[in-house]
């Protein structure tokens, strides 16, 4: 395959910056008093950005409670996402879902589950429907390493494999199932080896190297599209913040470990690669970042100024 061109890499960079800045801004707003939980994915941005860069508009995704990045990478609007975090009526879910359940069906983002692993069987069903309808769209399920312990993972992977479905399974292995390190729950050293149990390819990639992720994803997506799915990609990465805002992320891992991973920051890394290879200038990338910051200012303003849903509207949308 040809090398990924500068335009595509800048698109990936933009996507990663959007994810990072959105979550950093969400954390600031959360500390000022947003309700509920926020599970940030800071440090993991290369995986959704690299994968979604090669998805088409008519491809589908589903994600988990730590899903802001996956949703942004597929093209969701930051203002409606922010409004959802603010529990406002203009949020994607009219304030009923919150951070853990954002969907944008117009962009084929089918949602996010608060039950770890549950998106995997659902993805198999979407793949079934796409195949039955003779479409060449594919389905991507994003999840974390913890999800690979669930029965839903096993059942969904098994079904998708048995039916040769056009589903790409993307595991963001951030090395901890909340606080439990991989080695304490899984005897395999490489989570991608789980794919062997279903007779499908399992590919491991450096999840902090956006270019590597993009190359692997591009090939896997095309294979799924040609009927060679399902495929499991495991991106090894690290969440440099806690599990959620109530967790400083210090009781189960050392400061040194976190600092080591911060040095491998995927955004800085892609920036260096782009500049060194003369695919972009610092000024260009600064402008991308400034534009995202402006977009986020507007998103927060939109969220703040949006109306609250009424209590009575809680009873809408239960049935069609």
């Amino acid at each position: 395959m040809p090398e990924i061109d500068a335009a595509k890499l800048k698109e990936i960079y933009t996507s990663m910056v959007k994810i990072r800045f959105f979550e950093e801004r969400a954390i600031i707003e959360y500390r000022k008093g947003l309700p509920g939980f926020i599970h940030a994915s800071i440090g993991q941005e290369a995986i959704p950005a690299g994968v979604c860069a090669f998805l088409r508009e008519d491809d589908y995704t589903i994600t988990t409670h730590r899903g802001h990045g996956d949703i942004i990478a597929k093209g969701a609007q930051l203002d409606r996402m922010m409004a959802e975090l603010f529990a406002k009526k203009t949020g994607y879910c009219k304030g009923k879902g919150g951070s853990m359940h954002i969907a944008d069906v117009d962009r084929n983002i089918l949602g996010a589950t608060g039950i770890v692993g549950d998106g995997i069987p659902i993805a198999a069903g979407v793949g079934t429907a796409l195949k039955m309808q003779g479409l060449d769209s594919i389905m991507v399920a994003f999840f974390g390493d913890g999800a690979t312990n669930s029965g839903a993972f096993h059942e969904g992977m098994g079904l998708a494999a048995a039916w040769y479905l056009p589903v790409l399974f993307v595991c963001q292995n951030n090395l901890y199932q909340q606080s439990t390190p991989t080695r304490d729950y899984c005897r395999l050293t490489d989570i991608a080896d789980r794919a062997k149990g279903y007779g499908i390819p399992g590919i491991t990639v450096d999840g902090n190297d956006a270019i590597a992720v993009a190359e692997v994803a591009r090939e896997a997506i095309e294979k799924c599209r040609k009927g060679e799915g399902p495929i499991l990609i495991v991106g090894n990465t690290y969440r440099t913040v806690g599990h959620h805002m109530g967790d400083p992320g210090t009781s189960y891992r050392s400061k040194e470990e976190v600092e080591e991973w911060k040095k491998k920051d995927p955004i800085k890394r892609l920036r260096q690669q782009l500049v060194q290879n003369k695919m972009a200038t610092d000024a260009e990338l600064d402008e991308i970042e400034n534009n995202v910051l402006r977009e986020l200012d507007e998103a927060v303003k939109f969220a703040q100024e949006s109306p609250e849903p009424t209590p009575e509207e809680a009873l809408e949308d239960i049935y069609a």
Binding site: I115, D118, T128
Partner: protein, 325 residues
């Protein structure tokens, strides 16, 4: 009019809806060549092929989750969970995803799927193949729950369920599959949320559903000999519930008995009793009576099973007590 068994009527509904709408397909364990554990889908593979009559791995969470996924992108899956006892493996998908996805997304999606399953005792199938678990699903906002008591209702309600844009838990009864009743050749559907008076009477309203409708009708025949005129109200769908038919019957008779095969405690009949207590108390001239199965797993031993489960004799005895006879 011709008669069909409950099984044949269900199969006819499936066949008609699959012919009518190419988006409808079936998935479940052993439903293709084997024809389903209770042979409801027998013959459909030959007619519709493996693409639309899909055998699944033995993986109920995958069946439920995949049905949901397919329903989100243009299909109308009819998923089969072989026994309602097995639905707990799928319960997370049913309760947390299928029931809530529309709500969680602020109404962005529809979930047009049917989960067919069957429950109930009476065949010495033991504690893992005999339960009546409908109350659990009726408890969950976002689901509809349908429990037909005869072939006519089964066909009309299944057709409606397949056309419905909300997820429907469609619970058949294993002891009803061989029961027959007249079913017209012409197409018909039955709306959800509409009960049916299966027998008119003036002395006691028996409010029930599924196989217990037959038990109530048998008991009513016996009670008639003692001069007790029983009305049998078949609610047919637990959700949506036809409150009006229950309340108007109780208003007429002044006595309410609720009959269900599930364990007594927390059964759906308790909800019906509460409804009558809240909205028809002034019409009652006797306490509301519940006749249900005992609070026990369903024993394999046939005599113990008979002892645990509700039956016509228990209904009859309770009715005589209510009438002071």
């Amino acid at each position: 009019m011709r008669e069909l068994t409950y099984r044949e009527a269900l199969r006819e509904a499936l066949r008609e809806e699959m012919k009518r709408d190419p988006k409808v397909f079936m998935m479940g364990e052993e439903i293709a060549e084997y024809g389903g554990s209770y042979k409801v889908s027998q013959g459909l593979l030959e007619e519709f092929g493996h693409e639309r009559i899909r055998n699944t791995p033995l993986a109920e969470a995958a069946i439920a989750g995949a049905a949901l996924g397919a329903s989100l992108v243009g299909m109308r899956p009819v998923a089969e969970i072989m026994y309602i006892d097995f639905s707990f493996i799928a319960a997370d998908q049913i309760i947390n995803q299928i029931a809530k996805l529309r709500y969680m997304t602020g109404g962005m999606v529809k979930v047009p799927m049917v989960m067919r399953t069957q429950g109930g005792g009476g065949v010495a199938a033991g504690p893992h193949h005999s339960q009546s678990l409908e109350a659990i699903f009726a408890h969950i906002p976002g689901l509809f729950v349908v429990m037909p008591s005869n072939a006519y209702d089964a066909k009309g309600l299944l057709k409606t369920s397949i056309r419905e844009d909300n997820p429907v838990i469609f619970i058949e009864h294993k002891k009803l599959y061989g029961e027959s009743c007249p079913v017209p050749e012409e197409e018909y559907t039955i709306p959800l949320g509409k009960g049916d008076i299966k027998r008119e009477g003036n002395d006691i309203s028996i409010i029930t559903y599924s196989r217990c409708v037959n038990f109530a009708l048998e008991a009513a025949e016996e009670l008639a000999k003692d001069g007790v005129d029983v009305e049998v109200v078949d609610i047919r769908t637990l959700k949506p519930l036809d409150e009006a038919i229950i309340l108007s019957s109780v208003q007429k008779t002044g006595k309410a008995m609720v009959v269900y095969e599930a364990c007594r405690t927390g059964g759906f009949g308790a909800e019906i009793a509460a409804l009558i207590g809240e909205k028809a108390f002034d019409y009652l001239d006797a306490p509301i009576r519940r006749v249900a199965s005992l609070d026990s797993p369903v024993s394999f031993n046939p005599r113990q099973e008979q002892y645990i489960l509700v039956n016509p004799e228990k209904i009859q005895a309770a009715a005589l007590e209510m009438m002071g006879k």
